[in-house]
């Protein structure tokens, strides 16, 4: 039976995916701007954040309206509340992409400190997490969502590695401190984007299984049959 709410839920999903695609593009462009030292592109990313904000507000309004007027239950309820939270996660990712671009513009005032090795790897891995988190949402795939959560460790490790490397630069030559700190920030921003992708993964697990796995030790995030040993 086709219900009135089905069309609205399907529209909501489409809007969220459009927002997701836009945010993926924002992150991708921010990283490109960093590698290419492209201040113009960085400026564009900063400007386009308002588009993401607009999506966030619009999706929030849609969800509130659905909750008030349709009183969704069970799977529908979990879908609407999850959509509302995913939109917040995406909006924050876009803010972080904006922050990356702000640092990129500042970094461009001085020569490049070092060839970027770990940052692009972190970014590539993070973007894959974001993509897979959204895919897990579309396909209602809790297994893929769990993989996203597990992948976060890799980004965390690279962040620590990057930090140690940049600290050694600063100890050796105080003239590098400003740039090294800015790069540390960028590393942190990318790491936070991966955290938000993880959050989306956890939300998808809730949406699919009705089980809240946030703030639990990693084994709880895993399904009963252990994935990794």
């Amino acid at each position: 039976m086709q219900r009135h709410i089905d069309q609205e839920l399907s529209d909501l999903k489409d809007r969220l995916l459009q927002m997701g695609a836009l945010v993926e593009e924002q992150i991708d462009r921010a990283i490109t701007a960093m590698i290419a030292r492209d201040a113009v592109l960085a400026g564009q990313v900063i400007e386009r954040d308002t588009l993401v904000n607009r999506f966030d507000v619009e999706i929030d309004e849609t969800c509130i309206r659905l909750l008030a007027l349709q009183a969704p239950a069970a799977g529908d309820l979990r879908f609407v509340t999850t959509a509302m939270k995913i939109s917040t996660e995406l909006e924050r990712m876009s803010d972080l992409a904006e922050n990356i671009c702000e640092r990129v513009i500042e970094l461009n005032e001085e020569p490049q400190l070092k060839p970027y090795m770990d940052l692009p790897r972190m970014a590539a891995w993070t973007m894959k997490m974001v993509r897979e988190a959204l895919e897990a949402f579309v396909r209602q795939d809790a297994t893929l969502a769990r993989k996203v959560c597990a992948d976060d460790d890799f980004v965390d490790n690279l962040t620590h590695q990057l930090f140690r490397e940049l600290v050694s630069f600063m100890i050796e030559n105080p003239a590098t401190i400003t740039r090294a700190i800015r790069l540390t920030f960028i590393g942190k921003y990318i790491e936070r984007i991966a955290d938000h992708a993880t959050n989306i993964g956890e939300l998808v697990i809730y949406m699919v299984e009705g089980k809240i796995v946030r703030h639990m030790t990693p084994p709880a995030v895993q399904p009963n049959t252990s994935l990794n040993t």
Partner: protein
């Protein structure tokens, strides 16, 4: 059926493998369902699924028609009397279990006599005793303030919502242990409905309540446990919160999300 944490609850009644037949037609199939004390249990399901039939077993309403037949048991605790046992007197059952119907059905008598009715049948005739019980019942039904100055007026002149609260007061007067509500608000406006819902929430401090409702939001608002029935069978029983956020059975999910019914 998924296990339920019942550590904080006490059983008030329980059907055990209950079958019910209207003549040859079987309306209930092996229904086993607990009713916890000081809790509201909601029965939901599409029209004709057996909710009302099930509810009526609790006070032997089906006895009025020949050919109706019960199998299995409906146990009332703590004394473990089988409500549907042929040796049990339906009048005794109805003293302990009150019922409120879809349409308010006050007797064409005064407000006072409506509430006094059950007590008079029991043989209470002292005006002083009746006065006490009637005031208590009307207060518990949240009607006292509105009618205390016109207890001798006809009950038929009350509004629909007031009449329904009067019926609740009438059911409360005999001090029942279990209250049955059969779609108690389907004939009422939203304001009267919310008063009845608040009343149900208050009454459960003292008694066990079973409510049949077509309004799923009402079940979600007022009940602690929800049973979903389909074609005379119990599909799922769980905490209401679980039933409306993450039911275990696909059929329940389809019903509470409005995919059928």
């Amino acid at each position: 059926m998924k296990a339920l944490d019942v550590s904080q609850t006490v059983l008030k009644a329980e059907s055990q493998g209950l079958n019910f037949f209207y003549g040859q037609a079987q309306a209930l199939h092996s229904l086993s369902l607990p009713v916890y004390d000081r809790c509201v249990t909601a029965l939901i399901g599409p029209s004709g699924c057996g909710k009302t039939t099930y509810l009526r077993c609790f006070n032997r309403m089906h006895d009025l028609y020949p050919g109706n037949r019960y199998e299995g048991a409906v146990i009332l605790y703590p004394d473990r009397v089988n409500i549907v046992g042929p040796e049990v007197d339906p009048i005794e059952v109805r003293m302990r279990i009150g019922m409120v119907f879809q349409k308010p059905n006050p007797f064409p008598k005064s407000i006072y006599e409506n509430v006094a009715y059950g007590m008079r049948i029991r043989g209470v005739s002292s005006k002083a005793d009746l006065d006490i019980v009637i005031e208590r019942a009307l207060r518990e039904a949240a009607l006292w303030g509105e009618v205390k100055d016109r207890l001798q007026a006809s009950a038929m002149n009350l509004s629909g919502g007031q009449q329904q609260r009067l019926c609740i007061a009438r059911a409360l007067a005999t001090g029942p242990e279990l209250l049955l509500f059969d779609e108690p608000t389907s004939a009422l406006d939203p304001t009267a409905t919310s008063r009845i819902e608040e009343l149900v929430t208050e009454l459960k401090q003292k008694v066990a309540i079973v409510i049949v409702t077509h309004n799923m939001q009402q079940a979600a608002r007022v009940s602690d446990h929800t049973a979903f029935m389909y074609e005379g069978r119990l599909v799922e029983f769980d905490r209401t919160e679980k039933m409306f956020t993450n039911p275990s059975v696909k059929l329940t999910e389809d019903y509470v999300t409005g995919r059928f019914g």
